[in-house]
């Protein structure tokens, strides 16, 4: 945990979104007992420290017409995963790229990335391109398309920051 108790309160007050009020930071401040200037300064510090990764409109890809959402998983040799992960993350159509543990015998993939596209074919094409572009064409991989979305984000709960899918 890299945040103070007061910052946690601020995070809890903004994680479900800023109020659509002409003075949203003042409205947030009233909820947590801070002034508008303190809210703005507090959020700026969280952005500068990288606790907030980005601040802005959070899109719902599916509802914007990007109906295919492919989670691509790769089995990359341990000594190459950092390099290949960084290369994948730099591709414009890759929205998330994480290293995660293998769980043999059920699960052998150690690198995850998310690719959104208008349809399945577009996503599949981009995966082929990505594999060649990052030098992972020979590594085992699988694409897990989502078939149903049961929940996209948490309801109104405190202290649990909204991170992104996957």
């Amino acid at each position: 945990m890299d945040v103070t108790a007061k910052e946690s309160e601020l995070i809890a007050a903004v994680q479900d979104g800023l109020p659509l009020d002409p003075r949203p930071y003042a409205a947030v401040g009233r909820r947590v007992g801070l002034t508008e200037a303190e809210v703005i300064a507090g959020l700026r510090r969280l952005v500068e420290r990288g606790v907030i990764r980005r601040f802005g409109l959070v899109l719902s890809h599916r509802d914007l017409g990007y109906r295919a959402n492919g989670m691509v998983v790769w089995d990359i040799p341990d000594d190459a995963v950092a390099t290949i992960g960084a290369r994948l993350a730099a591709l414009p159509y890759v929205t998330l790229c994480y290293r995660r543990p293998r769980r043999p015998p059920d699960w052998h993939y150690n690198l995850f990335c998310m690719i959104h596209g208008r349809d399945r074919k577009a996503v599949e094409r981009q995966i082929e391109d990505a594999a060649d572009a990052v030098g992972a064409g020979d590594c085992p991989r699988a694409v897990l398309f989502s078939t149903r979305r049961f929940k996209q984000r948490g309801a109104r709960y405190a202290d649990c920051p909204a991170t992104e899918a996957m």
Binding site: D16, G17, R44, G50, F55, Y98, R100, T147, P161, A165
Partner: protein, 154 residues
């Protein structure tokens, strides 16, 4: 609200403000000034985009593990139990994404909580209540800096 009928104003709003949202007292006014419209128009568009489900919110996206604990969890759920198990998983406030995916391991969800113990407890509870194994795949390294998503308006 139809995405296909979006004009430049709507497109610019979606494209240009996924990051670096103005941290000034009247941010919607600052956006309006950059887009060449008025504050009320920006607030109205954002309200309607949220109502239409095109955007989920305006606000921060947090880096994983910097302000809490989280993990990606996965389960092999028999086809005839997917609805029931998915509903049980979604009940948890700590679950903020829950998808069925095309794979033998077919249910995938993200659990996040202020502390790692609570994340582990949620996974244990789900396993106990469903009688199914939960695979825990915590993040080891994040590669992406997430600059938002470039929409293609063609």
């Amino acid at each position: 609200m139809n995405v296909l009928q979006f004009g430049m104003l709507e497109k610019d709003l979606l494209d240009d403000f996924q990051r670096d949202f103005p941290l000034v007292p009247r941010p919607y006014k600052a956006i309006a000034d950059r887009l060449g419209c008025d504050e009320e128009t920006v607030l109205d568009l954002l309200t309607r985009m949220i109502e239409a489900g095109l955007i989920t919110r305006v606000g921060p996206v947090f880096a994983p593990h910097r302000a809490g604990a989280s993990t990606l969890a996965a389960m092999v759920v028999p086809v005839d139990r997917v609805d029931e198990v998915a509903a049980l998983v979604s009940e948890y406030d700590e679950v903020n994404h829950n998808y069925e995916r095309e794979h033998r391991i077919n249910l995938w969800f993200v659990v996040c909580a202020p502390a790692a113990q609570r994340v582990a407890a949620v996974l244990d509870e789900i396993a106990a209540r469903t009688g199914l194994a939960v695979i825990d795949l915590p993040l080891e390294q994040a590669f992406h800096i997430d600059l938002g998503f470039p929409l293609q308006w063609t």
